[in-house]
């Protein structure tokens, strides 16, 4: 187990190095000039001379070769420093520190809501495939899945629901109830799509399990249908949800550009999107590092969950290490 962990962590680090190097190279080599963007330099009266632009580049560290820049970034990262934003000069770490909690406040509840709603839908659909309930739920779920997010969000905004449509708090209040009220509409937007995906995923993996011999055996020994489904088929099909969880985990930290913009929530999506448009390399790299770490962590967690959930999988044996 320890050796497995060590190997995984090493592999994670190697992946992280590769990911950040590629991201750094792309961010630096992308066409478009952060210096020209700085206060519209060069595009208005009182603009900069070439020499002054060069001076800005030096101040921003844009004059050094990409590899040298990357190594410097890595060295600073190693010392816990992600640099400062080109745009406003604030430390990237504190920008992430402001945006990440907002994003987690949205992503974790929406993931939970998604799973909680999707489980009964998936199970009910798989219990009688092709039955009226399955067909009704499938239609509903596909309908939900095909609704464009931007449209749904705007409908919710214009709908006179009485719920707040902007920010996390009303002016002058910071009660938990107020916060919850502010979260309802964004969470609805973020959850309806994942209900569709997770429930279809669960349905198909349940149907797979239902065809297995052990299910036939369970039925043959006279167990009730609900016992067959809930006690035998369901636990096994949940394994596939672990994979799905591993894949969706990094999205927890990466934010949701559209929902954040419409509902005025300053999370990771807004931060990253604006940094990319502004060619704000340090902030882009901070976001990449964070989502890289989340991806690696997600994979690790789902591996461990597999081992815990499936007695057939032993982390030692699978790799022949004894």
């Amino acid at each position: 187990m320890k050796r497995f962990l060590a190997r995984r962590v090493l592999a994670m680090l190697a992946t992280a190095l590769g990911v950040t190097l590629v991201a750094f190279a792309v961010a630096r080599a992308a066409p478009g000039d952060p210096v020209a963007l700085q206060g519209d330099l060069g595009l208005r009266a009182g603009s900069a001379s070439v020499q002054q632009m060069r001076e800005y580049r030096r101040l921003m560290g844009l004059d050094e070769p990409i590899l040298a820049g990357y190594l410097r970034w890595l060295w600073h990262l190693f010392r816990g420093d992600l640099g400062t934003s080109f745009r406003d000069g604030r430390p990237v770490l504190s920008l992430l520190g402001e945006a990440l909690p907002v994003t987690l406040l949205l992503s974790i509840p929406s993931l939970l809501v998604g799973y909680v709603l999707a489980l009964p839908v998936g199970i009910a659909s798989a219990a009688r495939p092709g039955g009226w309930l399955d067909r009704a739920l499938s239609t509903l779920v596909f309908l939900l899945h095909s609704l464009p997010l931007q449209w749904v969000a705007l409908v919710l905004v214009v709908w006179p629901s009485g719920l707040p449509i902007q920010g996390l708090h009303s002016e002058g209040t910071s009660s938990f109830g107020d916060l919850l009220a502010h979260l309802v509409l964004p969470l609805a937007c973020l959850s309806y799509g994942s209900v569709a995906v997770i429930s279809r995923f669960l349905r198909s993996s349940m149907l797979e399990e239902m065809r297995q011999d052990y299910v036939r055996t369970a039925r043959a020994k006279g167990l009730s249908e609900s016992a067959v489904i809930l006690r035998h088929a369901l636990p096994n099909s949940l394994l596939s949800l672990i994979t799905l969880f591993g894949l969706t985990f990094p999205a927890l930290a990466s934010g949701a550009v559209i929902v954040e913009r419409i509902f005025g929530l300053p999370g990771m999506g807004k931060l990253t999107f604006e940094a990319v448009l502004g060619r704000d390399v340090p902030v882009v790299m901070g976001a990449v590092a964070l989502s890289g770490a989340a991806t690696a962590l997600g994979t690790l967690i789902s591996d461990l969950l597999y081992a815990a959930a499936d007695p057939r999988i032993s982390l030692e044996e699978r790799r022949g290490w004894r």
Partner: protein
């Protein structure tokens, strides 16, 4: 003819909004609504103290530091309100905006126009309680001139400043000496926002100092709080030296999405709503039943957009070709269909109501026959019969570079393409994001493009955009070169008499009109809305003076 009538209406508008009720009888509420003019009655009555003014902005500024950032939102929020200058534009005197005293009580300009002496106000204190003096002015200039500070947008204004200091033994007199006379030198120095010397000394490159995001000034409002991505607030400065503000607080709420913003406006969340979309301003406000609950505001700041032809390209080197392309565009139809008729046509580089503009230069009419004739004369004919004009074996085929975010250009570009195709000119469209766009334009790597120039003051120097020396590093991105224009610009720079300088600018305007380097398009208004209870609001090129605003309790 239409143009003259339009001009007249605007003059009336200005008169009514500056002098209160006009003598012409009862105000026509519907005309005010239609034209986006605030009723004169809103500036009357006894101001009431108290309340919070909530302002919607669509985007957060990068900082609250005018030394390192030139974002318009910083100018709006800080200048005159939080950070003051020695003199300021007199907002009541539209459209010329002469200077009036602020932190200085008076000034003298030497006969050779090279030495400026400012007499500063005594007894002024910074928001943190420290006393204000001439040392603050000197320290602000020094910070701007510091090569380690990201202040290029200001530094260029002081390129010819020889030295600046307080008078010996008198901290309340500031003397600035310049190397050569320049008409904007005085105005640039007098209207420069002044920062506190004792905080500048500790601020380093400004980017990491507290005053980068929490400004300290002398103005009628003092910074309170900035909640990132949400709101920025200011409170009344009780120790202000001048007319104290009426409202207790001003809160700027960041609402990026226009549909959400409009919904919140309907719910009565904002007192002042900045930048409505044209269709929201024109139709949705009335459709939502807000007429009577809000006032529409339409105001023109110095700005214009244009289509420019890169004269380094052989197609566009001949003035006849540029004129032809101008005749090929129905600018009036474009204005009405794509812009809801809210923008105003212009043919002038300067503020459209300024006397630097020659009102007799009307926009070129839509005349495809004239366009074809001019192209023929210039030698661009379809010699090989492929439907595309050519000259010396080169087909007239070029690319129009545009910023992918522009809603207006997304409509204009296909229209342009279609009109030019009828003339036998092939135009392709290339859309890029803003970061790449600024780079390509700066490097002159485009055939044709469209952009908007803007300025926060009516007084401006066309040098940066039209002088041939600015082709390389300046904003003369289309490489326009004309010795007559160069000479007029240079003369005007050393002419401090406004009337004589404006005469030169009108001459320059005539040359630009004939040479047609740009298709001058329109000046865009700011389309705002104010809630009924807001009083004392006055739009000007210096935005709104919020210390005069009060909230009616009725």
């Amino acid at each position: 003819m239409i143009r003259v009538a339009c001009r007249l209406a605007i003059v009336l508008l200005a008169a009514a909004s500056t002098r209160g009720f006009s003598a012409s009888g009862p105000p026509d509420a519907d005309a005010e609504w239609r034209e986006g003019r605030l009723p004169a009655s809103l500036t009357q009555g006894e101001p009431v103290k108290g309340g919070t003014l909530v302002v919607r902005i669509d985007q957060e500024p990068p900082s609250l530091d005018g030394i390192t950032d030139s974002a318009l939102a910083i100018t709006w929020m800080l200048e005159r309100k939080v950070i003051e200058s020695m003199a300021q534009l007199d907002a009541k005197k539209h459209p010329d905006y002469p200077l009036e005293p602020a932190l200085a009580t008076g000034w003298e300009i030497s006969p050779d126009q090279l030495t400026f002496t400012f007499h500063l106000r005594r007894g002024v204190v910074w928001h943190d309680g420290a006393p204000f003096s001439g040392k603050d002015v000197v320290a602000t200039i020094q910070k701007i001139l510091d090569p380690g500070v990201r202040s290029l947008h200001l530094r260029n204004n002081f390129a010819d400043l020889a030295d600046i200091s307080t008078a010996p033994g008198d901290d309340f007199t500031v003397i600035a000496r310049y190397r050569k006379p320049y008409f904007l030198a005085f105005r640039a120095l007098a209207t420069l926002p002044i920062y506190p010397a004792h905080l500048l000394a500790k601020a380093g490159d400004m980017l990491h100092a507290p005053i980068h995001r929490a400004p300290v000034g002398t103005g009628p409002f003092r910074f309170e709080q900035w909640k990132s991505g949400d709101r920025i607030s200011f409170v009344r400065n009780e120790r202000y030296w001048g007319r104290k503000a009426h409202v207790d607080r001003v809160v700027y709420r960041v609402v990026a999405d226009p549909a959400v913003g409009f919904q919140l406006l309907k719910q009565g969340e904002f007192d002042l709503y900045l930048q409505l979309q044209p269709q929201q301003w024109l139709r949705d406000l009335e459709a939502a039943g807000l007429k009577g609950r809000v006032h529409r505001i339409r105001f023109f700041n110095p700005n214009y957009n244009w289509i420019g032809w890169n004269e380094e390209r052989t197609f566009f080197a001949d003035a006849r070709v540029r004129q032809a392309l101008n005749y090929a565009i129905d600018t009036e139809a474009v204005r009405k269909t794509f812009l809801f008729g809210l923008d105003r046509p212009t043919t002038c580089h300067f503020y459209l109501e300024s006397s630097a503009c020659d009102p007799s230069l009307a926009p070129r009419p839509y005349d495809p026959a004239q366009a074809a004739k001019l192209l023929d004369e210039a030698g661009w004919q379809d010699h090989d019969g492929d439907g595309i004009r050519d000259k010396d074996g080169v087909p007239f085929r070029f690319t129009f570079l545009m910023n992918a975010d522009s809603v207006f250009l997304a409509k204009l570009a296909p229209y342009l393409q279609q009109e030019l195709a009828k003339l036998g000119v092939a135009m392709e469209i290339r859309k890029v994001d803003w970061a790449l766009f600024t780079q390509l334009i700066g490097e002159h790597r485009f055939d044709a493009t469209s952009l908007r120039w803007g300025n926060s003051d009516v007084a401006q120097d066309p040098y940066e955009i039209w002088h041939s020396s600015q082709m390389k590093d300046g904003s003369n991105v289309i490489s326009f070169k004309d010795p007559r224009v160069d000479a007029l610009i240079e003369q005007a720079r050393a002419t401090l008499d406004d009337a004589r300088r404006n005469e030169m600018y009108r001459k320059m305007g005539r040359v630009l009109y004939d040479e047609a380097p740009y298709v001058f398009l329109y000046s865009r208004p700011s389309l705002d809305a104010a809630r009924e209870r807001v009083r004392g609001l006055r739009p000007s090129v210096a935005w709104y003076d919020l210390q005069d605003v009060w909230l009616s309790r009725r």
